[in-house]
Symmetry: C2
């Protein structure tokens, strides 16, 4: 049995009994029924994931999966591909990126994994600043053929599973981040195919295109889909033909977390594209996902709807890196503090009618 | 010069120079332009309020202003008035309410002030668990006449100013909370009058009415306005005729915070009704307000729009107490960490085109 098959076979749906226990507990707390709204929904979700009303959540890790894209130089991003490498140095050596700052505030470690960066990071591997899961120096240009081979797609998912398994030894709560210049383009293609929505309706401005640039990007997504004809019923085929290495790793990371019953917070559009791939491979994996924020990317809401998720935050974020996921950790903590620290009516000496 | 006049005379608009400095700094940080969206807008707002790019924000205080309402027994709430007193004990003695839990997570102190509770809290005053700003044992029933005298309305605002001044000695960041069974009813009346919107469109289900109860509540709000004829151009008149003691104190608290240039996070619907009163007294006071969450109360969005604010969170909260304000503190901290801790492009060694 392959690592993917083995992992998928270990994924059970969220536990209904623990969800009910959480609901009962919440209705005993000193507030009008469900007065903390979605924070309470989240507490119920987490109880169902972890089979506990008081799971450990203090050890938190954001894993940034990095990869480059052959399509990046087709004008889909205002930034050159080399920025992927430079930002990895910013994450790993300077700790000066947005995710470093927000993870620090949330008490989360940041790990960076090279899944398929176009460049040599061996120096950072040696210093243990970046994890080596390198598959290739970026994907092929999907305007000329498949982004990667089916075997590479499988390998990228396995890399993500390995990262989840490795992180589980010191993490109670996981989050997905990513870095890869151009990666909203394959994400748009994946969402278009898996949600059956035309490219123009899921393609947005990424890191800063104008409307003309956006239309060109949507055309590129459409061309890549027309050329490669990904089979929407075969998630590995979609990932291989119009995906990216880091997106496959995100899918695998979610599968791994789900198999371990560890809640996994997804970030924005690219993470959600990865989550869609995971969901196609194992629908129950979505039970372990917490959707952190609604990105400004227009495809994002379609993708979240397909997963049956509603984001906790809507702050017009479009940074990626895991930034929204790190912010959502405050709410994860809040939801479980509520269920564990609030007084019951009985304790507060208040008799309900 | 009265305390209110003196306070208002000390309120200056937000500082445009510091707002510009914040924008410049943000555009130097290693991310696509404005990629952290509303978190960056918030950083600019805070720089303008505090005249600093790195203001102290660690010492945080939520002040819960409590009052009772003569209208409470007219069927506007599923809870009896006595629950106000019981919840104050929960805040002060058990520390088991939602706000206690969420403030603890946010590193905020909780202070409770009796502005006009229908009951004797002298025992808790003596223990320094509740601050004595008691004006009366609840308002009068606004279905029979004005909720309070003009002098009492003035006194409630002064109480809030005093609470802000007293809190300023050990607080860099303030937040408003409230407790008072029935207090969405006067809040609906205030929002209806000050926003010129019919009561039915601003009145919602409060702590748990059904649609029939909501319609009855809207009728009560309409009757109270028809009977008392508050002058929408005179905020003290509106507060006196259809307001509440804790709502006046919230208004004063905001005026006090604004005069001290301390950012003040407002909670939900009731806090926003108080903010509207403050805004009518001193339009510039709104410059110092951070709107934490969009409540499920339908009047809330109208009130926020009138203040020119957009809430940071939308989590279907309807607890009050300051719970949304405490949650928003994480974002206030995040916004200023971003501006101070992120690397610039220069520091990261990345040359921009």
């Amino acid at each position: 049995m392959s690592l993917i098959e083995k992992t998928v076979s270990g994924i059970l749906p969220s536990d209904q009994t623990w969800r009910e226990k959480a609901k009962e507990r919440i209705l005993d707390l000193t507030m009008p029924p469900w007065a903390l709204g979605r924070l309470l929904d989240l507490a119920v979700d987490i109880a169902g994931m972890t089979r506990s009303l008081n799971p450990p959540l203090d050890r938190r890790t954001v894993v940034i999966m990095a990869g480059d894209h052959g399509v990046a130089n087709a004008g889909v991003s205002p930034y050159p591909q080399a920025v992927t490498m430079l930002m990895i140095r910013n994450f790993a050596e300077i700790a000066g990126a947005g995710i470093n700052v927000l993870a620090r505030q949330s008490g989360a470690k940041v790990r960076i994994a090279d899944i398929g960066v176009a460049g040599d990071l061996s120096e950072l591997f040696k210093k243990n600043l970046v994890i080596d899961k390198h598959i290739a120096n970026g994907t092929n240009n999907m305007l000329e053929g498949p982004a990667m081979s089916r075997e590479q797609a499988r390998r990228s998912i396995e890399a993500g599973i390995e990262l989840a398994l490795e992180s589980s030894s010191d993490s109670d709560l996981l989050a997905t981040g990513e870095m890869g210049i151009g990666n909203t383009t394959p994400s748009s293609a994946i969402v278009s195919v898996l949600c059956s929505i035309p490219p123009n309706l899921v393609t947005c401005r990424g890191a800063g295109l104008d409307e003309e640039g956006r239309l060109k990007k949507a055309e590129i997504v459409e061309k890549a889909i027309d050329l490669n004809k990904p089979d929407k019923n075969d998630p590995l085929d979609v990932l291989a033909k119009v995906g990216g290495f880091e997106i496959g790793a995100i899918a695998g990371f979610i599968l791994g977390a789900a198999s371990l019953r560890i809640p996994v917070i997804i970030d924005g559009f690219i993470s959600t594209a990865g989550a869609l791939v995971a969901h196609e491979i194992s629908p129950s994996s979505a039970d372990y996902i917490i959707a952190s924020h609604q990105s400004v990317e227009r495809g994002h809401q379609h993708a979240l709807a397909k997963l049956g998720k509603k984001a906790l935050l809507s702050l017009d974020l479009r940074l990626g890196e895991g930034s929204g996921a790190a912010l959502a950790m405050h709410f994860v903590e809040a939801s479980m503090r509520i269920i564990n620290e609030m007084a019951t009516w009985e304790k507060a000496g208040i008799v309900r009618k």
